[in-house]
């Protein structure tokens, strides 16, 4: 191969390249800090602050800078015409929006991680490097136009997340979560790779557009295509937590350190959906009639099972895990609709979801006691008295998640449902709105606990600049997007695929 090709359009991957270089810098800085002699950091007045504290602050700050640089790189290539890199990655509006959502989740994840766990403080170099690696993989998911790149992206972020979710080593639940996630995830990856192989066999190429060309011109081996799609669906279904592939979600969400849960709940969803949309809509549109029905059934099942199970949870993290299952069902309606408007509606939904879901997890971080790793519903009792701003923010997140106007979540649902009706999937949309009504019950329960119940004896609250900043930004974003949705739909117009 001509090596000059290697650099043509390499700018397509600039945001990922920035991050990859950043990870290396981060690791070197980490090594440097470890080698630093004790006495140099002793200049700090606070004698109690151990050496790790200072280096953790430095490393997390550096991570935020690296992620922001990547945001800058993404915005920079947004200003240029879309280009494709070696038939494996593309820089169109859809990919860039998905990347920005992932980066947003990553930045919030870092901000929430400060002072959260001693383990994170001790090994912050490893922790933040893994987080950036996960972001790289997630960003590649929506960018990939090739099944092999897609699989590599999937594995990069999955492996990083397996480790991150087990980072709370003192907690058996965290270890269990990591183990469960790893075993089931490896299993799902196997399905995924099998499906890719079959599609490669049927389409004669790993590139989406070529697969589409072969399949739509009547070529390819049909006995390979449908099993291929089915296996691929299992892989994606696992990553975005569709029923019946959602079993890992509550355990992992509950067991993982809460900042990791916040990051992966949004990042994984955005990344996997971006990849899912691109495969289905650029490689397999000629088989729409076959897969749309299948996905519609999965969407109905996912929304219903997710919401009904969420009703019965007493841990807020588990409740949010099932709620994320239900939201995956909602977003899947957009894929079932299969139009360009639907995929840009899904982007809007994911943007809204990023703010409201991370905001909700940030509030959980604020209420968690050190080393607890989880928060029961009762912890929210009466916190409106003690922490009115925190409670108001949580109320905004809960109402937005339930789809109450005029908040961001409502317009996400509105756009997705609109796309569904326009594509002729009214029955699915009816199931969607009924599920919305069901979901209001468990979101409302948190609001009721905060405002109407009597306070627990001594409610505690963690503070921290990053934490407070995250909660504030997320709440403001949810309200502003809700009041001025036109600005965002304007930005996302035409970005669908």
């Amino acid at each position: 191969m001509d090596t000059s090709l290697l650099f043509d359009n390499a700018i397509v991957l600039l945001p990922e390249i920035v991050l990859a270089v950043g990870v290396m810098v981060l690791m070197m800085v980490d090594i440097g800090l470890m080698a630093e002699p004790e006495n140099r950091t002793q200049r700090r007045k606070d004698a109690k602050a151990p050496r790790e504290q200072n280096s953790a602050a430095l490393l997390s700050g550096l991570t935020v800078v690296i992620l922001l640089l990547s945001v800058g790189a993404a915005l920079f290539i947004w200003s240029r015409p879309p280009a494709e890199y070696l038939g494996g990655a593309v820089s169109d509006g859809f990919a860039l929006s998905a990347r920005l959502i992932v980066l947003l989740a990553g930045i919030f994840g870092v901000l929430l991680s400060r002072n959260y766990l001693p383990a994170i403080e001790r090994q912050s170099g490893a922790y933040y490097s893994l987080l950036i690696l996960a972001v790289i993989g997630m960003m590649l998911m929506g960018t990939a136009t090739n099944l092999i790149v897609l699989f590599i992206a999937l594995e990069i972020f999955s492996l990083a997340l397996y480790i991150l979710s087990g980072f709370y080593r003192e907690s058996a639940r965290s270890i269990e979560a990591a183990m469960k996630y790893f075993l089931l995830g490896a299993f799902a990856s196997a399905f995924f790779v099998y499906g890719s192989a079959l599609l490669y066999g049927a389409g004669g190429s790993a590139n989406y557009v070529r697969i589409h060309e072969t399949l739509s011109s009547g070529g390819g081996n049909p006995s390979l295509v449908l099993p291929g799609i089915a296996l691929l669906l299992v892989g994606f279904g696992f990553k975005v937590s569709l029923v019946p592939f959602h079993m890992w979600t509550p355990d992992v969400y509950q067991g993982a350190p809460t900042p990791v849960t916040a990051f992966m709940s949004v990042g994984t969803k955005a990344a996997a959906f971006a990849g899912f949309f691109r495969v289905m809509m650029t490689a397999l549109p000629s088989l729409y009639d076959q897969w749309a029905v299948l996905l519609a059934v999965l969407a109905a099942l996912t929304m219903t099972v997710g919401n009904l199970t969420a009703l019965r949870q007493s841990s807020v993290k588990r409740m949010l895990a099932y709620s994320s299952v239900a939201h995956a069902g909602n977003i899947l309606i957009a894929l079932v609709a299969g139009t360009a408007a639907a995929s840009s509606a899904a982007l809007f939904y994911l943007f809204a979801y990023a703010f409201m879901n991370i905001g909700a997890f940030a509030v959980i971080v604020a209420l968690e006691r050190t080393g607890e790793g989880d928060v029961a519903q009762s912890r929210f009792d009466g916190i409106a008295e003690r922490f009115p701003a925190l409670a108001a923010a949580m109320a905004v997140f809960m109402l937005s998640l339930s789809g109450m106007p005029p908040l961001a979540g409502f317009f996400g649902k509105f756009l997705v449902f609109k796309a569904g009706v326009e594509a002729g999937w009214s029955w699915l949309v009816v199931i969607g709105v009924l599920n919305s009504a069901i979901s209001a019950y468990y979101y409302l329960r948190v609001v009721v606990a905060m405002y109407f119940s009597d306070a627990e004896s001594e409610p505690a609250r963690n503070t921290g600049a990053g934490l407070n900043f995250s909660v504030t930004v997320a709440a403001v974003a949810v309200i502003v997007i809700g009041l001025q949705p036109g600005l965002w739909t304007g930005l996302l117009r035409g970005l669908g695929i």
Binding site: M404, P405, S426, V433, A437, V448, G486
Partner: protein
Amino acid sequence: MSFLLSILTFLPVVGAIIVLLAPSDGLKKGLAFSATIATFVVSLLLLPGWQEIPDMQFVERYAWMPDLDIYYYLGVDGISLWLVLLTTLLMPIAVAFSNQHIKESVGSYLALMLLMETAMLGVFLALDLVLFYVFWEFSLVPMALLIGKWGSQNRIYAAVKFFLYTLAGSALMLVAILALYFHAGTFDLLALQSAGLPPGVQQLAFLAFALAFAIKTPLFPFHTWLPAAHVQAPTAGSVVLAGVLLKMGTYGFLRFALPLFPVATSNYASLISVLAIVGILYGALVALAQRDLKSLVAYSSVAHMGFVILGIFALNEQGISGAVLQMVNHGLSTGALFLLVGMLYERRHTRLLSEYGGLWASVPIFSFFFLVVAMSSAGLPGLNGFVGEFTILLGTYASNPLFAVLGVTGIILAAWYLLHAFRQVAQGALENPANFKENLPDLNWAEIGQLAPIVLLFFAIGLAPNFFLSKINPSVAALEVVQSKAPAVVWQIEP
């Protein structure tokens, strides 16, 4: 283009923000009251420039989500005018009452009341289906919080039931709105009216809209949330709930169901009328059996709102004009009844009828107001209730005499339960020492000030109904379902 309607709608929000920032409770109360009074004054500005035409007036239209044809689109016509004024009139009264009695979290309470006002005004003014839906759904949040935080013993159950019941009811309306867009390519109410939707779409969309409105109204058998919410809500909450919030349901029928789905409306008119009559009789009989004064008023709302529905689904000009006027009447008289119950409750901390009796001797001013309000609610000629109910019955008789006969039974029952309540409270022997003059102070000037404007309007509407009906009629006469009927004789009372 004037900004009057936007100022009107969002003035309370501005008030809410200022109230939350104000340093002391006293200041918060004063500011909240001023905000509602200012809103009322702004709403009065609608009257001088009012034209008696069927069209929307004071229209404002800006692109809100231009990519999706969603507009910020407000307008007011004869159907919504008096409901807007009813809202802006009842709010200062409700706030004034609350200012005397609310002690906990004053700032949040008043801010929620003001947000509530914006939501209700938005519902009455929105002409874009999405904008309407946003206001409609949003109105649930402040009311549920008001009930759940400041209500009586069973408040959380009542708040959650209220919230979920009405939320579930309007879920399908969203699908119907999307389906209308799919068929007509617009969310603009006026454009949709002339779009001529296919009958099949009309049937399904009508059912989806009707479910949301029937729950809000509430139409029998969707009324079960109402007694719970009313009895548990704080007094001002009940005033707003009964006075304005329920009208959102009947207004919805008039503004959306009738003009958008004329074919389906005609098909379902009889069924809905029957449900309305069942509601009238059922509500009245249950009211008669109540031992709690507030429950009695709550069930009377079910009966009275049944009357409004009956008038709307007579589908002729008298029926609908009477229904619009009766919405206002019910808002005034039931609002006043809840205020009176609240005033009594704040003194005695009980609402059981058996605790009272002979109050005329100890609190004559209270008893006088109670009598006038009960008479208004029962439809005594000369007062507002009579005009509304009589006009509705005329319309109903023209479309179905049997319905009118059954409806009249409801009026008789209403007189019965209201006089029964009055007798139990004010007449008879003054036996309970807690009710003696020295233990039970009569209404003070502030309370008289809260009731007086309402009572004056009883007489104004009762004696000069034309002033009100002449603004309602043109918009009602322009409805397609009305025009398709043979022109009816227009009945008007000359004072």
